[in-house]
């Protein structure tokens, strides 16, 4: 991991780390629950028209796909940019800007054949030079996702329709690294100088970026799109931060779609015929981390005591009202990479013993940093506080705004915090940056050389089963050491107007309106 992003500490860095599985790796993937007509047989006719209005909870920080780490930005960019390959709803990689690819026998050379007849929204032709430019921009400027190219030695364009990626070591996660999410988008050669990419967007996707204002973003259908052109005329994203307000807007017909659904409403919405509800288990996970640079949190027994002291089921229920699954590792059940391992059960007696054996004077004071950007952390924290009060740990809940929260996290100025990682598909994304000693997202100072070793081997192991075995071992060590105290995998919950067709809810929360048709 020589190359790491220098964009740490940016808003939303913890909010998004999207990595996808390598091709054919993920057989899991729960079927997507779409009421009525599911699936993506795109609207060829284009006759229906109309503008889809989507309510999202947060405002994108910027629109440069290579720099932003905010989920809100990717909700918009998903519809504007393309990547070489793209995960389908099951997490398997399908052709996008690349139509096919081959791997050399030693696994070190990947050759991609590019799609012909693709144009950018500014009218310029798409070719291999754009790919080389985009990837080199990420690598050379050490942008947020540079670490995904850590094993990439060289990106070459032998002819306009071919790109060759040369690796320094086998990288089974390469497809997920270059196509897992729109952070690896292809931009036109020279775009960074020609355009202000933070406020403009020039992609090859189904929608063009029209305008951005304080209240939202407007996209228009791109008539020369290489795939089936969208049947709707455009998409308008509106920012509605209050979940109840978003739901009211959906009910009253002011918006067609929202992902800002209050968890407590999920149950009642299932029977609500004014609203279609789509849910599917996500690939996100939420966790608590203790600062291992500080006593007594550096003590493994103490952390294990805390792990035994927390009633995960109650925390999960408090935070998500049933729209989540308790888990003691990061990777959800539906994934191929899931490893069933649950060493901790709620056991206050054992927790008290472990915490006392750790030698700190009880009650131990522990600040728990939460943020109102994610209200579920505040609700979960209150349950954790009550749980730990029984085992000799006095939790002080510290509610910060997210900016301050991120600052304190990156400076190590905290005892413990709770947050989630969103959108991971490949185990590399789930474990590597968070748990290796020098990991770029290892804000809690965890260091176990054995884990480093296992994760290092797993990153280059090309045999899928052998790779899984390595990750399983690493996951057990990480859970046993309580590097992260994993809590739950939430469900993706989205809602839309009855009659909206062609939209599918995805585990990786990619939001694509390409084949959507509006209700009459």
């Amino acid at each position: 991991m020589a190359r790491t992003g220098r964009q740490r500490g940016g808003r939303g860095l913890a909010a998004v780390l999207a990595v996808a599985v390598l091709a054919g790796a993920c057989s899991g993937g729960e079927d997507v629950d779409v009421d009525g007509e599911g699936g993506g047989d795109g609207g060829e006719g284009g006759s229906a028209g109309g503008t889809l209005i989507a309510a999202i909870s947060a405002e994108p920080d910027q629109f440069d796909p290579h720099k932003t780490q905010a989920y809100a930005s990717f909700q918009v960019l998903e519809n504007v940019y393309d990547t070489l390959v793209v995960p389908d709803a099951e997490g398997e990689f399908q052709p996008s800007l690349a139509t096919e690819w081959t791997t050399s026998d030693d696994g070190l050379t990947w050759t991609f054949t590019l799609r012909e007849g693709v144009t950018f929204h500014d009218g310029s032709e798409f070719d291999s030079a754009d790919v080389v430019y985009s990837y080199n921009r990420i690598i050379d400027e050490q942008l947020a996702n540079a670490f995904r190219f850590a094993s990439v030695a060289d990106v070459q364009a032998p002819d306009p329709q071919t790109v060759v990626i040369t690796l320094s070591e086998p990288t089974p996660a390469l497809l997920s690294n270059i196509g897992g999410f729109k952070g690896m988008s292809i931009i036109p050669e020279g775009a960074a100088d020609e355009y202000d990419l933070a406020t403009e967007a020039v992609g090859t996707g189904p929608f063009t970026f029209e305008s951005s204002a304080a209240g939202g973003v407007t996209l228009a259908a791109y008539d020369d799109y290489w795939g089936d052109a969208p049947s709707i005329d455009g998409v308008e994203f509106q920012y509605i931060s209050e979940p109840t307000a978003a739901l009211t807007a959906l009910r009253s017909g002011d918006v067609h779609w929202t992902d800002n659904v209050p968890p407590q409403d999920v149950e009642s919405l299932a029977d609500d015929d004014q609203v279609e509800l789509g849910t599917t288990p996500s690939v996100d996970y939420w966790y608590m981390a203790m600062n291992q640079a500080k006593p007594p949190f550096d003590n493994r027994d103490f952390r294990r005591g805390v792990a035994f002291g927390i009633d995960r089921a109650a925390v999960t229920e408090a935070a998500k009202f049933g729209a989540a699954t308790v888990n003691q590792t990061a990777i959800p059940e539906q994934s191929f990479w899931y490893h069933e391992y649950a060493p901790f059960e709620h056991d206050p007696a054992q927790a008290t013993d472990l915490i006392e054996s750790a030698g700190a004077a009880t009650p131990v004071q522990m600040g728990l940093m939460v943020t109102d950007e994610y209200p579920e952390t505040i609700q979960a924290a209150q349950v954790i506080q009550a749980n730990l009060a029984e085992v000799g740990v006095e939790v002080n809940i510290e509610q910060e705004d997210f900016g301050t929260w991120l600052d304190r996290q990156s400076q190590g100025d905290y005892d413990a915090f709770m947050l989630g990682w969103l959108g991971n598909l490949d185990p590399f994304g789930f474990y590597h940056a968070q748990h290796v000693c020098e990991g770029t997202s290892n804000f809690h100072s965890y260091c176990n050389p054995e884990v480093d070793d296992l994760l290092g081997q797993a990153a280059t192991e090309t045999d899928r089963d052998a790779r899984k075995a390595l990750y399983d071992q690493a996951a057990e060590l990480i859970a046993d050491d309580v590097s992260y105290l994993y809590l739950y995998n939430p469900d993706v919950v989205q809602a839309w107007a009855p009659g909206l067709e062609g939209y599918e809810v995805r585990a990786d929360k990619a939001i694509n309106f390409e084949s959507v048709r509006l209700p009459e």
């Binding site: 109650a314 408090a318 609700q379 009550a386 809940i397 910060e400």
Partner: protein, 303 residues
């Protein structure tokens, strides 16, 4: 000497009943004021005894199995999203609100009165300097100012008290100064000065007692504002931190559940309403009885 004086003094005190007693008597004739006092006494009682009336567990310990229960015999005000008893939390919230209100107003009262006394009494550059500072503070909208202060100090109920205290200081300074300006020209102040009394003695013994009436009225009204401000700050997450019960925070949490559990927002909201109304009514009544002109009219009617 003592014999001579005692012969002379008693008739004076007998002629006029103590002023505070007279004030209370007048106040007691106002039924609204009585109601307000009763409500506030109840709140103080609740605040002091909340934790002995309701079990601590009801206030703090989540009970997920019993979340969002409607009001019933067991839970008078229902339960919240973590299964805690809303009645217990509203009761315990009285303590938070009154404590923040009292400490914050204590800060602004002390600071404001000292500034007002100094500015009004000494005039000239002391007046100019102090009152311009107060004007600057006064120029900011109260809540924005409090949010700015909390942004610097960090969120929390202690800092909220300080922030609210700072915000309401200029009002006390202005009211005090205005009264001092007229009092310092009174004959008895000049008499004291010509008798050789020092500034401190004059301010404390002769000026301060004669400017208390408007300050008392302002204190009651400011308590209402301070409690409202604490609720507002907690509503936006800057005041009282979870899991401590604060009416503002409960209101903010209840907002997301208004369709499933109206009781989560309605009862804390009602508590804020009743408390603020009580302080305002009391403030109004106090103003009526402390204003010299109103007072003579009321005495006339009563007699």
């Amino acid at each position: 000497m003592s014999i001579e004086e005692s012969a002379e003094t008693p008739p004076v005190t007998r002629q006029h009943r103590p002023r505070w007693l007279e004030t209370l008597t007048l106040l007691a004739r106002n039924p609204l004021a009585i109601a307000a006092v009763v409500v506030l006494a109840g709140l103080v009682f609740a605040a002091l005894l909340a934790e002995s009336i309701v079990p601590r567990d009801d206030i703090f310990t989540p009970d997920i199995a019993n979340r969002l229960q409607a009001p019933s015999g067991e839970h008078w005000f229902g339960t919240d999203e973590l299964g805690r008893d809303v009645f217990a939390r509203v009761l315990a919230g009285a303590e938070v609100s009154l404590r923040v209100g009292a400490v914050a107003v204590g800060i602004s009262l002390t600071a404001g009165v000292v500034v007002g006394l100094l500015a009004g009494y000494f005039g000239r550059w002391v007046d100019d300097t102090l009152m311009r500072v107060m004007d600057v503070l006064f120029a900011f909208p109260a809540l924005l100012m409090a949010i700015a202060v909390l942004a610097i100090l960090g969120a929390g109920s202690t800092n909220a008290m300080i922030a609210i205290g700072i915000v309401y200081t200029p009002i006390f300074a202005r009211i005090t100064r205005a009264s001092v300006l007229s009092v310092r020209e009174e004959v008895y102040v000049r008499a004291a000065r010509s008798a050789g009394a020092g500034n401190v003695r004059i301010i404390v013994r002769h000026v301060l007692p004669n400017v208390t009436a408007p300050i008392i009225v302002q204190t009651s009204i400011s308590l209402a504002f301070a409690i409202l401000s604490e609720a507002a700050l907690s509503f936006v997450g800057l005041g009282t931190q979870p899991p401590d019960p604060s009416w503002g925070r409960m209101l903010s949490e209840g907002r997301g559940f208004i369709e499933q559990a109206w009781w989560m927002a309605v009862f804390p909201g009602a508590a804020i309403f009743v408390t603020v109304l009580a302080f305002n009514v009391l403030g109004d009544a106090l103003r009526d009885v402390l204003d010299p002109r109103q007072r003579s009219a009321m005495k006339g009617v009563g007699a």
